[in-house]
C-alpha cells in the first residue's frame, strides 16, 4: 500500500506515504512540531511492538490457576516489562488503557493527523476515538500486518482471494482436504467429547478433534445443545459482545474519483483514502451509532484496487472498495436494516465522499452496500462483527472469548476454537489459528 491520503476540512490534504522522510516533510507542512514528534512517536511504537509481539504469539496463561507454567509466563512478561526504559514502560501502560486521541494528543497537534491515525483504533469496534481502550490498536500498524488485513477484508471475490488461496494451497499440499459449500449444522458429541460434525446436507464427518474457526455464538449456541455445556460457560458465551459496527460499500466506477484537495489522477489514488478530516468528525460518527443510527457522515477508508491490478475492471473502468464506520447492528427501537435503510446508508457514504470528490456521483455504474446484518448473513459473523467479537479490554488476552477458557480448548473435550474470537483476536492474520494449532498438537502428544 502506498500510504494514506486524508482530505481535510480546510480544502488542504494530508498525505502520508511509506517513505518516512517524505511523510515527515508532508507533516511539517502542517506542523513543524508534529514532524519532530513523528520520529519520537515512531521509535516509541517500534519499542511497544517489540514488547507486544511475543504476547500475541503466546497462549494466554490462566491467572486463576496455580499452574506454575502459566504463572512463570506471566512473570516473564513482567520481567520484560521491568527491563524496558521508563519512557517505554509508561507508553506501554498508556497504550493499553488510554483512548487513541488522548494518547496521540501527547505528541501531535494536527487534527486531521490525529483523526486519521486514531481511526485504526476503532476499526471493527463499537468505540469512538475518544473511548478509553482504543489506543492499543495503534500498535498494530507498527507490527506490519494490520493494514493488509483490514483493507483486504471483504473485498469483492476477485480481489482478495490471493491470500486465502495461498494458505489453502499450502494446506492442501500438506494433505488437508478442503470442502466448500459445506455448511456445518451441528457438532457431534458423545459423553462430553466432540466426535465430529454434521453438515447441513446431512453428511456426517467423524473426527478425533473438531476445531471451530467460527465465533462462539455459532459454535456453542447453534452447533451444540445447551445441555452439552456448563451453565456458567453458556452464560459467559451469551454475554460475549459482538456489536458489529461497520459496513462496506463496493463501487464499480466509470472513471476515477477526482478529489478537490488534490485534483486529477496520481499516486495519491493508489493508496488508501481516509475520510477522517477531524477528531470531532470521527467522534460524531460514533455518537450517532451509539444512539442507534448509522453515521450520517461516516468514517470511510477507501481503496481503488483496480489501479494496482488492472484485471479487476474493464479497461478505463475501476472498482473502489469502501470500509465504512459506523453502521450499528443494533438500531434504535423500531428501526430495522431493511432495503430502504441499506440504500440510505449507501447514500450517506456517497454523500460523505462527494464532499471531497464531487464527481463521485456521476461515475457510479454499480453500487453494492453491505450492512452489519448482511455481513452476518453472508459471512456467518454474528452481529456483523468482523473480528468475531469486540476487541475491548474485558474481551482480550485471558478473557477472550470466555474468562478461564482462553487457551483454545472448550468445556467439550476435543473441541477447540481457532478463530478471531480467541487471543490475539482479529486483524492479525492467522495468529489465533497458529496458537490454536500449537495447543491441539500439545494435547495430542499427551
Amino acid at each position: 500500500l502506498d500510504g494514506t491520503l486524508t482530505p481535510m476540512e480546510s480544502g488542504d490534504y494530508l498525505w502520508r506515504v511509506n517513505d518516512h522522510s517524505k511523510t515527515r516533510r508532508e507533516i511539517a507542512r502542517h506542523s513543524q512540531k508534529d514532524a519532530d514528534a513523528y520520529d519520537d512517536y515512531g521509535m516509541a511504537m517500534v519499542e511497544m511492538g517489540r514488547f507486544a509481539k511475543p504476547i500475541l504469539a503466546m497462549t494466554p496463561p490462566d491467572p486463576m490457576s496455580l499452574d506454575p507454567r502459566g504463572l512463570l509466563e506471566l512473570l516473564s512478561i513482567g520481567k520484560r516489562f521491568r527491563n524496558m526504559r521508563y519512557h517505554d514502560k509508561v507508553n506501554q501502560v498508556q497504550l493499553l488503557t488510554m483512548s487513541a486521541v488522548d494518547f496521540l494528543d501527547q505528541w501531535f497537534e494536527t487534527d486531521a493527523l490525529k483523526a486519521t491515525m486514531s481511526a485504526s483504533g476503532i476499526i471493527g469496534t463499537f468505540l469512538g476515538v475518544r473511548s478509553p481502550g482504543t489506543a492499543y490498536v495503534l500498535l498494530h500498524h507498527y507490527m506490519g500486518e494490520i493494514d493488509g488485513a483490514f483493507r483486504s477484508w471483504g473485498l469483492s471475490r476477485g480481489g482478495t482471494g490471493s491470500v486465502s488461496n495461498a494458505i489453502a494451497g499450502a494446506a492442501r499440499k500438506f494433505g488437508a482436504e478442503i470442502r466448500t459449500d459445506a455448511p456445518v449444522a451441528k457438532i457431534l458429541t458423545r459423553g462430553g467429547r466432540a466426535t465430529g460434525v454434521v453438515l447441513a446436507n446431512g453428511d456426517e464427518i467423524l473426527a478425533d478433534v473438531v476445531v471451530s474457526s467460527v465465533d462462539p455464538r455459532l459454535t456453542f449456541e447453534r452447533f451444540l445443545e445447551p445441555k452439552e455445556l456448563p451453565d456458567e460457560f453458556l452464560e459467559a458465551v451469551r454475554r460475549y459482545k459482538y456489536r458489529g459496527s461497520s459496513g462496506k460499500v463496493n463501487l464499480a466506477l466509470d472513471a476515477l474519483p477526482d478529489f478537490t484537495c488534490l485534483p486529477g489522477r496520481g499516486e495519491h489514488l493508489r493508496g488508501a483514502i481516509s475520510i477522517s478530516p477531524s477528531i470531532d468528525y470521527m467522534e460524531r460518527a460514533y455518537d450517532e451509532a451509539k444512539h442507534g443510527a448509522f453515521s450520517s457522515r461516516p468514517y470511510i477508508d477507501m481503496v481503488i484496487p483496480s489501479l494496482t491490478d488492472a484485471s479487476l475492471a474493464p479497461p478505463g473502468k475501476h472498482v473502489m472498495s469502501c470500509f465504512v464506520q459506523y453502521a450499528p447492528y443494533h438500531l434504535q427501537p423500531g428501526d430495522v436494516w431493511d432495503d430502504a435503510r441499506r440504500e440510505a446508508f449507501g447514500d450517506a457514504v456517497i454523500d460523505a465522499i462527494a464532499v471531497h470528490a464531487p464527481n463521485i456521483r456521476n461515475i457510479i455504474r454499480h453500487r453494492q452496500v453491505l450492512t452489519p446484518l448482511d455481513i452476518e448473513r453472508d459471512f456467518g459473523l454474528s452481529e456483523g462483527n468482523i473480528f468475531q467479537g469486540e476487541l475491548s479490554l474485558e474481551q482480550l488476552f485471558f478473557l477472550r472469548p470466555v474468562p478461564g477458557w482462553a487457551q483454545y480448548a472448550t468445556p467439550v473435550e476435543k473441541l477447540y476454537l481457532c478463530g478471531s474470537a480467541t487471543h490475539p483476536g482479529g486483524g492479525i492474520m492467522g495468529a489465533p489459528g497458529q496458537n490454536a494449532a500449537v495447543r491441539v498438537l500439545k494435547d495430542f502428544r499427551k
Binding site: P63, M64, K89, L127, P132, K241, K290, L393
Partner: protein, 521 residues
C-alpha cells in the same frame, strides 16, 4: 531534630498529613490560600440563616483509621446516620431507593422488577467481595515499580492471595469489571432503567467518561472499595462538611500545627543541588525548610516548581496528566420542601440521583466532548436540612446539587457568560423531577469547573485532582513510578487526592503520605 515541615494547602488531606506529622513531633506549618481551611469540606451561608455545603455535599466516607487516629470525635465531629445508598428518580413518578438494608432495597426494586429484587443481594455481595480486595491496597503505599522492597512484595503477595481467595468466578469478575463500561456492568445485574442509570453514576462521577466509556467499570469498583475502606457512618457530618474542617483544624492545632490562612504559595524553592529549600508566599515572605508537602493537586504543584529542577521526561508526563473537570455545583436556599412525586420524606433525605436511563446520561456526556455543557445534565441532589434542620430557618431547606457534564473549556463563550445558562439547564432539569421547585428558590449559586479551579485552585476544576483512569491509578498516580508520595525534587512530597488512593475527602492520601515522610526521617 528533624527539619520543620511546610504543608501547602489546608484541605482534608493536607490537614490529616500535617496533624499526623505534628503528632510525631515534627514542627509543621500549613499554608492555606483561602480564608478557611478544609478545602472542599466547607459549610457556607448562602442566604441569611441558610447553610450550604458549598464544596462536596458528603465526605469520603472518612477512612476509619484516619477518624480514629485523629480522634475527630473528641474534636466535635458527629455524623448523621445514612440508611441508603441513594434514591433513583426517573422524573415520571418512579422511585427506587437502595437502602443499606438489602431486604428493604429488594422490596423497593421489586415494585419495578421482581427479577432485580431477586438479583440484588447477590450483586451487592459481589460488589462487597470485590470491593474488599481493591480496598486492601488503599491503606498502603503503592509498591515501587523498579525495585519493590521486601515489605512491598509481601503486601503484593497478600493482595494476590486475597484475589485468589475470591475463587474463579469472582476473580474473573474483578478482571472483567475494571475495563468494562459501567453501563454493561450494571446491565448484567439489573434491568430497571432508572436503577441502571443511578448505579452507573458511580462509574462516571467527576470524570470525563460516559456510562458507555470503557474503564468506567473501574470507577464503580473504586467507589465500592472506598465505601468499604471507610466507616459508612462517616459520610454525613452534622453541621455539614464544614464541621469536618473545624474538627480537623482543632485536631491539627492541638497537635501543634501552625496554620496560616489567607496567603498562598507562589513558588516552591529549590537549591542548586535540586533539593527543596522552602516556599515563597503570596505576600512575598519565604518559609525556609527542607521538607515541603503539597496538599494541592500534582499539576498545580509542579507548576509552582522551577522547571529546571524537574527532569524533561517528568515535566512532559506531568503536563499530560489529565485533569479535565466536568462537574458543576449548584446550591439552593429553599423556602420549603420540594415535592417529588412518588417519594416520601424518608426517601428525600437520601441522595437523589436523577436520570431516567443510561442513554440520557450518555447524551449528557456527548455534549462535553465538544466543549458544551449538557442541556439536560445528570444530577445528584441532597437536602441536608431533612437530617439536620439547624442548617436553615424553620420550615425552610437547602439543597446541594452535583451536575454533570460541564467541561472546563467551552468552545463558544466563556464560563463568565455561560454560568447563568448552566444554572438554567440545571433548574429546568431539576424541575422535571421536582415540579415547581423554582418557586421555592430564595437564593441560588452555581459553580462551573472554572469557578472550582479559581475558588479551590484545583487544576482543571477536577474534583479528584486528576482523572481516575486506569493509567492514573495506584502505582501510576499521579505518574507512573512516582506513586510513593515523593517527587524528583528531594524534600518535596505529595499528599493530595492526586496521589493513591485519592477519591473524595477520605484523608487516605494524607495519612499514607505522612507515613512515608516519617519513614524517610
Amino acid at each position: 531534630m528533624s527539619a520543620p515541615v511546610v504543608v501547602i494547602g489546608g484541605g482534608v488531606n493536607g490537614l490529616v498529613c500535617a496533624t499526623l506529622l505534628a503528632r510525631a513531633k515534627r514542627r509543621v506549618t500549613v499554608v492555606e490560600r483561602r480564608a478557611e481551611v478544609g478545602g472542599a469540606a466547607v459549610t457556607r451561608e448562602l442566604a441569611p440563616g441558610f447553610l450550604v455545603p458549598s464544596g462536596a455535599h458528603s465526605v469520603g466516607p472518612l477512612r476509619a483509621d484516619v477518624a480514629r487516629d485523629l480522634r475527630l470525635g473528641e474534636h466535635g465531629l458527629e455524623f448523621a446516620p445514612g440508611n441508603a445508598w441513594f434514591t433513583a428518580l426517573d422524573g415520571r413518578g418512579h422511585t427506587v431507593t437502595l437502602w443499606h438494608d438489602l431486604a428493604r432495597a429488594a422490596t423497593s426494586l421489586g415494585a419495578h422488577s421482581p427479577k432485580d429484587a431477586a438479583a440484588w443481594p447477590a450483586f451487592m455481595q459481589a460488589r462487597t467481595k470485590l470491593g474488599r480486595v481493591v480496598a486492601s491496597v488503599f491503606g498502603h503505599t503503592p509498591p515501587s515499580v523498579d525495585a519493590p522492597s521486601t515489605p512491598e512484595l509481601w503486601r503484593l503477595f497478600h493482595t494476590a492471595r486475597a484475589f485468589r481467595a475470591l475463587g474463579r468466578a469472582d476473580g474473573y469478575r474483578l478482571l472483567r469489571w475494571g475495563p468494562m463500561p459501567v453501563a454493561d456492568l450494571v446491565a448484567e445485574h439489573v434491568e430497571t432503567p432508572v436503577v441502571q442509570a443511578a448505579l452507573a453514576a458511580d462509574g462516571v462521577f467527576g470524570s470525563l467518561l460516559g456510562p458507555w466509556s470503557a474503564g468506567s467499570g473501574l470507577l464503580f469498583l473504586l467507589h465500592a472499595a472506598n465505601d468499604l475502606a471507610g466507616n459508612a457512618a462517616a459520610t454525613w457530618p452534622r453541621g455539614g462538611p464544614g464541621a469536618l474542617a473545624a474538627a480537623l483544624r482543632r485536631a491539627a492545632e492541638q497537635a501543634g500545627v501552625t496554620i496560616l490562612t489567607g496567603t498562598g504559595v507562589t513558588e516552591i524553592l529549590t537549591g542548586s543541588n535540586g533539593k527543596a529549600t522552602g516556599v515563597r508566599l503570596g505576600d512575598g515572605r519565604t518559609l525556609d525548610t527542607t521538607v515541603v508537602v503539597a496538599g494541592i493537586d500534582p499539576k498545580t504543584t509542579f507548576a509552582l516548581c522551577d522547571p529546571m529542577a524537574l527532569p524533561a521526561e517528568f515535566r512532559w508526563r506531568a503536563g499530560n496528566y489529565r485533569t479535565r473537570g466536568v462537574l458543576a455545583k449548584v446550591n439552593l436556599a429553599l423556602s420549603g420542601l420540594p415535592v417529588v412525586p412518588g417519594a416520601d420524606r424518608e426517601q428525600l433525605a437520601t441522595r437523589l440521583r436523577m436520570a431516567p436511563d443510561v442513554d440520557v446520561m450518555e447524551r449528557a456526556f456527548d455534549h462535553a466532548k465538544y466543549g458544551r455543557y449538557s442541556p439536560t445534565p445528570w444530577l445528584e441532589a441532597v437536602i441536608p436540612t431533612l437530617v439536620d434542620p439547624t442548617l436553615a430557618p424553620a420550615g425552610a431547606h437547602v439543597m446541594s446539587i452535583y451536575a454533570q457534564y460541564a467541561p472546563l473549556t467551552l468552545r463558544e463563550g466563556s464560563w463568565d457568560t455561560e454560568r447563568e445558562g448552566l444554572l438554567r439547564a440545571v433548574l429546568d432539569t431539576l424541575d422535571r423531577y421536582m415540579p415547581g421547585v423554582r418557586s421555592l428558590i430564595v437564593e441560588a449559586e452555581v459553580m462551573s469547573p472554572a469557578d472550582l479551579e479559581r475558588e479551590w485552585g484545583m487544576a482543571g476544576g477536577h474534583i479528584h485532582h486528576g482523572e481516575l483512569a486506569l493509567d492514573q491509578l495506584f502505582t501510576m498516580r499521579p505518574l507512573f513510578g512516582w506513586s510513593q508520595y515523593r517527587t524528583p525534587i528531594d524534600g518535596l512530597w505529595l499528599c493530595s487526592a492526586g496521589t493513591h488512593p485519592g477519591l473524595g475527602l477520605t484523608g487516605g492520601s494524607g495519612a499514607n503520605a505522612a507515613r512515608e515522610i516519617l519513614r524517610a526521617g
